[in-house]
């Protein structure tokens, strides 16, 4: 018997609700105001990437998160969550193989709002329960609980990613790079490593305004912007960054094929920015289809995501159509 079956047996109402944000995570701005300090040159400029590019030996790191409400104790949702991260090394045969991976499956619930009997069952049957401390004045609002749960899941995934990333750095070969899907600046070790790159596909945080913003968001395909120091926003550790356009955006939208790259805050990064950008442009093939984000998603990172999804619990996310009312038979 699973812990959510045990909850149902204890009197909780079974549920199968996967909120829209439960199948992935967003890179939205967390509210902090970002800023940029140009490093390479006084004004933001577009530079062609180096071509032909030198493709480098690399490991690729990505994570996934999945969660859903599996029961309600009164109006208190009990959430089952799963996060996983893997680093996959691309071998000489050009095929990725898993280097390191880790996953965590846990429950999230506002324990203080639950009936004692149901709470006891949850705590005794589920080995990993995360409590959601609620604001006493706000009372129990299911929508707010779900938003808090999302943050818990995000945090769990980021912790896992950071852990795997830092362990990966320890086993990287002397010429090997680590490409992380997301921010490099979340980890001091990552941010300081000479062969670690963060690849950011979402652009919720804007580092420029005015003419520089226009140059950044209209950089042509096969070009990068000047290197700048990213400040604020997600950047808890200092990194250098630049924008890179993989595919022509004309006829699409401003962010089409646009990546932001993070690397160690070092003069060597500025010198290598064009070569690194050329390499990343070479990673456009094969296309990361059928993912809708293929214009910004590098195929090896998609491969990690596919790998993790394939190993995720099959019963966690309901199949489409399963929310139809159940028939009597």
């Amino acid at each position: 018997m699973t812990w959510w079956d045990a909850l149902a047996a204890a009197g909780a109402v079974p549920a199968a609700f996967a909120p829209p944000a439960s199948r992935g995570w967003t890179d939205l701005d967390d509210g902090a105001l970002p800023g940029a300090e140009l490093i390479e040159e006084p004004d933001l400029a577009a530079h062609p990437v180096t071509s032909p590019a030198l493709v480098r030996a690399a490991c690729f790191l990505d994570g996934i998160q999945q969660w859903k409400v599996v029961s309600y104790d009164g109006v208190a949702p009990v959430i089952r969550a799963y996060v996983a991260t893997a680093a996959r090394r691309r071998g000489p045969n050009r095929r990725p193989r898993t280097l390191l991976e880790s996953s965590r499956e846990f429950a999230i619930a506002p324990l203080a709002s639950m009936k004692p009997a149901v709470r006891r069952v949850l705590e005794t049957t589920c080995p990993d329960v995360v409590d959601l401390p609620l604001d006493r004045d706000g009372g129990l609002q299911p929508g707010k609980v779900l938003e808090l749960a999302r943050r818990v899941v995000d945090g769990a995934r980021q912790n896992l990613e950071r852990e795997i990333a830092e362990r990966s750095l320890a086993v990287l070969g002397p010429e090997e790079w680590l490409l992380v899907d997301g921010l490099l600046s979340v980890s001091g070790k990552l941010a300081a490593h000479p062969r670690a790159l963060g690849v950011i596909k979402s652009h919720g945080a804007q580092f420029f305004d005015g003419a520089n913003l226009e140059r950044a968001l209209t950089v042509p395909a096969g070009h990068r912007t000047s290197v700048f120091r990213a400040r604020g926003g997600h950047a808890r550790n200092e990194v250098y960054s630049w924008y890179l356009r993989l595919w022509p955006w004309e006829g699409q939208d401003l962010l089409y094929g646009l990546l932001r790259i993070e690397a160690r805050a070092d003069a060597a990064t500025v010198a290598a920015a064009s070569a690194i950008s050329g390499w990343l442009c070479a990673e456009r093939a094969p296309l990361a289809t059928p993912d809708a984000r293929w214009d910004r998603l590098l195929y090896p990172l998609q491969d990690v995501e596919t790998y993790l999804k394939a190993r995720a619990p099959r019963d966690l996310l309901s199949a489409p159509g399963s929310r139809l009312p159940r028939t009597g038979s």
């Binding site: 691309r90 050009r94 990673e283 093939a285 094969p286 296309l287 289809t289 090896p300 596919t306």
Partner: protein, 597 residues
């Protein structure tokens, strides 16, 4: 769970080929430059051959897959029952090859030669399917592995085209790989040790009508000649569909029962003893003359048979002696297969490649019927006979008239297994052979097939991948269906250990036809090496050739100790051709009275 791969698929995460075109920026030369290889899987479907335990029937579980060993192959194909039994009856057919492993595959003699099931059919395109080679190898395998408890076995092969089966006793070139396969299958890589060949004579009545006439090889070739008695028994073969009627049948029966080899009064004052075509023709002439003279041409029946029927039968019978001169002797005794003295593990090749199609039908019909008769009486000399017939498309077509040969092939197919009369048939287009002939073949082999043929309904049970494999099958590989095998199996067999027909003709070119007297000498010398050619030439000088042929046939049939003396005796003394004296009639002493008593 044992299975055999039947189909293969490849899946990748590429939604459409266009995505890779875009990824390579439309440049085909950059298609392989992607730093990461796309994820791709190969997915194989397999047909279940056997599962243990067999009950209850269960779906195939997900599990590890292993390449089959020899023991696994024996289990999977249910060969263990006849391979490891106290009385094994396994006949190697070839090697199942997969992933570098080779495992022998065996047929069950009880289902190949009888009595449980029998017959073998092999299909494939001409030249690439190696049908003849497969049968030659299988015969070698049968001769080596036919179980002792099942008795003796022999083979009768009809050579219907070129020199295909003319050199079965001569070694062919084998590669080391072939020898290794022979060793693996425990079949000796040597040609057949006991081969007897039969070929009709040419129209001259003394030279053999075969491509195996080289001086070094001709000693095993026996003439095949039949006389009237042999032909009349199978007169139905000679009649086409328009001829088949009760009247002709009745008249032929009358000849067979009342006339042949008996002293017979024609009713017009003549007495006949019909033993040859010449005797028969004399009888026919006597009948026609008698009807003409006695009734002034007004009567058109003789012994209840209409003159038109008599003329038709005469026409057909005399026609065969003309069209198949050399096979059918117009005036003389026959030389035939050794009925009653068949040897164990011997191959009897009947070369009818150069015989008129009508004659081929006759040879085939008579030989197989005689085999059947002797097997029924258990006095053939062996317990089972494999009859190899190529070109079933010609002899047993699915459509067309019901010929005597087709009816006989159907009869063998349906009842031969009880007698030990086993048909190994080969054809290009299985779909165009009579369904009951191929359907009764318990073992079916398929070589390289034509795609058009594979598109016919008979092949619907095969998966598309199997059809593609059949259409591209290399030489030396066959697909086997056998009652014990729940799925078709592909096997590889070694090249047969005999000289191929074309190579044989190159290495042993046929001898030119000899003059009449030299041909006679050669035949007699073959029977008795002490005979000096000049003795024979002196003996037959200025003798009628028909007399010489008749004497030669008698020697062949009798096989006397002193060949030359017997030949001289049968040939008879030289009789000078005196003009007969005119005989004057003696008038009666008294005039014949009107008084009838």
């Amino acid at each position: 769970m044992y299975g055999v791969v039947t189909d293969g698929f490849a899946y990748s995460d590429l939604p459409t080929p266009l995505h890779d075109v875009v990824g390579a920026e439309g440049d085909p030369t950059r298609a392989a430059e992607a730093p990461t290889a796309r994820q791709e899987i190969r997915y194989w479907t397999a047909a279940v051959l056997r599962q243990t335990p067999e009950e209850p029937l269960q779906p195939v579980p997900i599990g590890q897959v292993f390449v089959a060993s020899d023991a696994d192959v024996a289990q999977a194909l249910r060969m263990d029952g006849y391979l490891y039994s106290a009385t094994p009856s396994a006949i190697p057919i070839g090697l199942y090859t997969a992933a570098g492993l080779e495992s022998p595959v065996y047929l069950d003699a009880d289902f190949l030669i009888g009595p449980e099931a029998a017959h073998l059919n092999i299909s494939g395109v001409s030249g690439l399917a190696t049908k003849t080679s497969a049968v030659e190898f299988l015969l070698a395998s049968i001769f080596e592995h036919f179980p002792a408890h099942k008795g003796k076995v022999a083979a009768v092969c009809f050579n219907v085209k070129g020199p295909d089966l003319c050199f079965l006793d001569q070694p062919g070139a084998l590669s080391d790989e072939d020898r290794r396969r022979y060793e693996r299958l425990a079949v000796p890589s040597r040609p057949f040790e006991r081969v007897r060949m039969y070929a009709p004579l040419k129209a001259d009545g003394v030279n053999l009508n075969t491509l195996r006439t080289h001086a070094d090889l001709v000693h095993i070739v026996e003439p095949l000649t039949w006389g009237l008695a042999e032909v009349v028994d199978y007169a139905e073969v000679l009649l086409n569909r328009d001829d088949i009627d009760a009247k002709a049948d009745a008249f032929i029966d009358f000849l067979r029962d009342r006339v042949l080899a008996r002293t017979f009064d024609d009713g017009f004052g003549g007495t006949h003893r019909v033993q040859t075509f010449a005797d028969l023709d004399r009888l026919f002439r006597a009948i026609f003359d008698g009807l003409e003279l006695t009734s002034g041409g007004r009567s058109d029946t003789w012994r209840t048979h209409h003159i038109a029927t008599i003329r038709k039968v005469r026409n057909r019978l005399s026609n065969i002696s003309t069209r198949c001169k050399g096979l059918v002797t117009d005036d003389g005794p026959s030389s035939d297969l050794p009925w009653g003295a068949f040897e164990d593990r011997a191959v009897y090749v009947v070369d009818v490649a150069n015989v008129d199609p009508l004659g081929q039908d006759l040879v085939f019909a008579r030989a197989v019927s005689k085999l059947r008769e002797h097997l029924e009486r258990r006095d053939l000399g062996v317990d089972a006979v494999v009859v190899f017939v190529d070109e079933l498309n010609k002899y047993a077509p699915g459509d067309g008239p019901d010929t005597y040969v087709k009816k006989m092939l159907l009869d063998i197919s349906e009842r031969g297994r009880y007698l030990g009369l086993v048909l190994f048939g080969a054809e290009q287009f299985r779909s165009q052979v009579h369904r009951r002939v191929v359907g009764n073949a318990a073992t079916q082999l398929f070589g390289r097939m034509d795609m058009d043929e594979l598109a016919t309904p008979g092949y619907q049970v095969l998966s598309p991948a199997t059809k593609i494999k059949l259409a591209t099958l290399p030489i030396g590989e066959l697909m086997v269906r056998h009652p014990h095998f729940t799925q078709p199996i592909f096997v590889r067999f070694p090249k047969p250990p005999v000289l191929r027909g074309r190579d044989g003709v190159e290495r042993f070119p046929p001898a030119a036809d000899l003059p009449f007297d030299d041909a006679v000498v050669r035949q007699l010398v073959r029977l008795d090496r002490r005979i000096r050619p000049n003795q024979v030439k002196d003996l037959i000088a200025e003798r009628d050739e028909d007399d010489v042929r008749r004497a030669l046939a008698a020697v062949r049939r009798t096989r006397p100790d002193d060949v030359l003396a017997y030949f001289r005796k049968v040939l008879g003394g030289r009789v000078s051709t005196d003009i007969p004296r005119e005989r004057t009639a003696v008038p009666p002493l008294n005039p014949i009275a009107d008084e009838p008593y």
